[in-house]
């Protein structure tokens, strides 16, 4: 109970800070060479100081969070839909379709972590769309595996058979009878997927494969900030702390949800 309250508090806190400062937010793209690399000043003009081009770090941070959440949620939703559909088909129909699909997932699973996304983003060139595409390319596999396993355990239940016998159409059986009963672990997986995609996006941007300047991303801010670590450590501390907090919140949410829905992943 306590930690849930703490999570709610943290999220609300973040939102409040965002709203409060967004009201008199600085222009995140405004270059001012007379004020470069200023340290954070509370209640000053630049709350989190300025970067190497004199741009306001706080407003860039907010834009970075927006982008990070956008990429995370989009990747989780898109790869979730693709994975769930393929997993349902694979688990329900079995046979050759299942065999082929599972061998394909094996191939994708042979690339550990974000390796495939790194290679793919490098080939297609930088940009938000390409990052999202690259992350979906590897994201669907986990959903497909999980949905298939769930479908396998559900497809022989009495209510599914009853539906089949009474002539319910296959899409309806899949979407109305099987999917709702397979949903709990998928929801948990989706929460972790958002966190994973956010870290991956930041990682790609850190390598210079993601969002291109002047557009800020938490990863590219870390990349640029790392060059001024000695004089302005806040350029590294701020975006990293923000990214970690967001990911931590999502991971705690996923953990709680898993306990609450009583699923084993």
């Amino acid at each position: 109970m306590n930690s849930r309250r703490a999570i709610a508090f943290i999220i609300t806190g973040f939102a409040a800070v965002g709203v409060f400062f967004a009201a008199n937010m600085q222009d995140p793209f405004n270059i001012n060479l007379t004020t470069l690399l200023q340290p954070p000043v509370f209640a000053g003009e630049h709350l989190l100081g300025t970067d190497e081009l004199g741009r306001d770090v706080f407003s860039r941070l907010l834009l970075g969070v927006k982008l990070s959440l956008f990429v995370g949620i989009t990747v989780a939703v898109v790869s979730g839909i693709i994975g769930v559909v393929l997993g349902l088909i694979s688990g329900y129909f079995g046979g050759v379709v299942d065999h082929v699909l599972m061998r394909i997932t094996d191939i994708f699973l042979a690339f550990p972590g974000i390796l495939l996304a790194i290679a793919f983003a490098a080939l297609t060139g930088p940009g938000v769309e390409n990052v999202i595409f690259a992350l979906c390319l590897m994201g669907w596999v986990g959903f497909a595996r999980l949905t298939r396993a769930q479908t396998l355990s559900i497809r022989n239940r009495a209510y599914v058979q009853a539906g089949e016998i009474s002539g319910t159409s296959t899409p309806r059986i899949l979407l109305q009878h099987i999917l709702p009963n397979a949903a709990a672990p998928l929801i948990v997986e989706a929460v972790f997927a958002v966190a994973g995609a956010m870290i991956a996006e930041a990682g790609l941007s850190f390598l210079g494969l993601g969002v291109q300047p002047p557009e800020p991303s938490l990863g590219s801010m870390l990349r640029e900030g790392a060059r001024y670590m000695l004089v302005s450590p806040h350029l590294v501390l701020a975006p990293g702390l923000m990214l970690m907090s967001l990911v931590l919140i999502l991971n705690i949410m996923g953990d709680r949800l898993r306990d609450r829905l009583d699923v084993r992943l």
Partner: protein, 334 residues
């Protein structure tokens, strides 16, 4: 298909040796699955270069390259041939252990990789050791104090470690230990084991987080078993129960995950090496990405995926060897 194969083998060997047969057929099954996957990975990496939008030659040489240079490169890479021939050539070259030559430096990709491999292996092994040394005591401590303060501390710590991207942890450690305290070098590999500490800690932390949770949960699972209660009833000390009786049984899933993570470490090494300018495979990959040297990228991806696949295979076989339930189940289905 696999079922028939199993059947033939089962019949070929005497019924008295059925146990050995089952193990053998599990291993063969697993190996048979391994081959198409490897082939799939090889095929996918082959198509990498063809996924480049537009003209890969232009992407590599730039827009204002001379026509003669373009034609030369196209011929060198064999991109002027039909795609089937290209794929055949690629497979033939691979079977000779030839990963092509770097467009940028003209050196064979195999040489470039083998020059950088030792640094990455050194980093990955040290990170692995760090993770093991940190995770086991932490996991045991948490399990023995389940639900109490130590458990909470350890599990919150592991959640934080798990959520900490290594491209942030790295700079943090540099700021603290190198810039403020001045104890350790900022980057590079020149200062011997001193320069290894920060990258290894950075790379190993995420893994330690995963491992400690796993040690905790699999210990807790074993601690409920009957033989533990028997040992407790006999008056065996708590310490001996945890480390001797329970640990040997809880170790199996942990070791399996260790194998799986060992492959994943190579990918984590890409980002960690970027932070510390560690002269390993990761920095080679990033240099190649920036120079659009696709042959080097391709070779690197293929190598990492192969290592990872092999580790997964070893993990499965190890599991089957150690846990009879797996091989019986494996032989039973299909």
């Amino acid at each position: 298909m696999l079922g028939t194969f199993q059947h033939i083998i089962c019949r070929a060997i005497n019924k008295q040796n059925r146990r050995i047969t089952l193990v053998l057929s599990y291993v063969l099954n697993r190996l048979l699955q391994f081959i198409p996957t490897v082939f799939g990975v090889v095929t996918l990496t082959f198509f990498f270069i063809h996924l480049v939008p537009g003209d890969p030659i232009e992407a590599m040489l730039g827009e204002d390259a001379l026509m003669a240079d373009r034609v030369a490169l196209e011929q060198k890479l064999g991109l002027d041939k039909p795609i089937g021939t290209q794929f055949k050539d690629y497979l033939l070259r691979l079977s000779d252990g030839d990963l092509g030559t770097s467009i940028y430096s003209g050196e064979p990709v195999v040489d470039l990789i083998s020059a950088r491999l030792p640094a990455t292996v050194e980093l990955a092994v040290t990170a692995l050791l760090f993770a093991i040394i940190l995770a086991f005591p932490l996991g045991v401590w948490a399990a023995r104090n389940r639900g109490k303060l130590p458990d909470r501390i350890a599990m919150t710590g592991s959640l934080v470690g798990f959520s900490m991207p290594n491209f942030w942890l790295g700079p943090l450690l540099i700021i603290f230990f190198s810039l403020w305290l001045g104890w350790l070098p900022v980057s590079g590999r020149e200062d011997g084991w001193l320069s290894l500490i920060l990258p290894a800690v950075t790379l190993g932390t995420g893994m330690a987080a995963v491992l400690s949770r796993l040690v905790r949960s699999s210990l807790l699972e074993v601690m409920n078993a009957d033989f533990i209660r028997t040992a407790q009833a006999k008056g065996v000390s708590e310490r001996a129960i945890v480390w001797k009786h329970a640990m040997s049984n809880a170790l199996l899933p942990v070791i399996t995950v260790l194998f799986l993570q060992a492959g994943a470490l190579l990918t984590g090494a890409i980002l960690t090496e970027a932070v510390f300018s560690w002269p390993g495979l990761g920095t080679l990959m990033i240099e190649a990405l920036n120079q659009r040297d696709y042959m080097v990228v391709q070779g690197n991806v293929l190598l990492i995926a192969s290592v990872y696949l092999t580790m997964t295979l070893l993990a499965d076989l190890l599991y089957a060897w150690a846990d009879p339930r797996v091989r019986w189940a494996g032989a039973g289905n299909e």
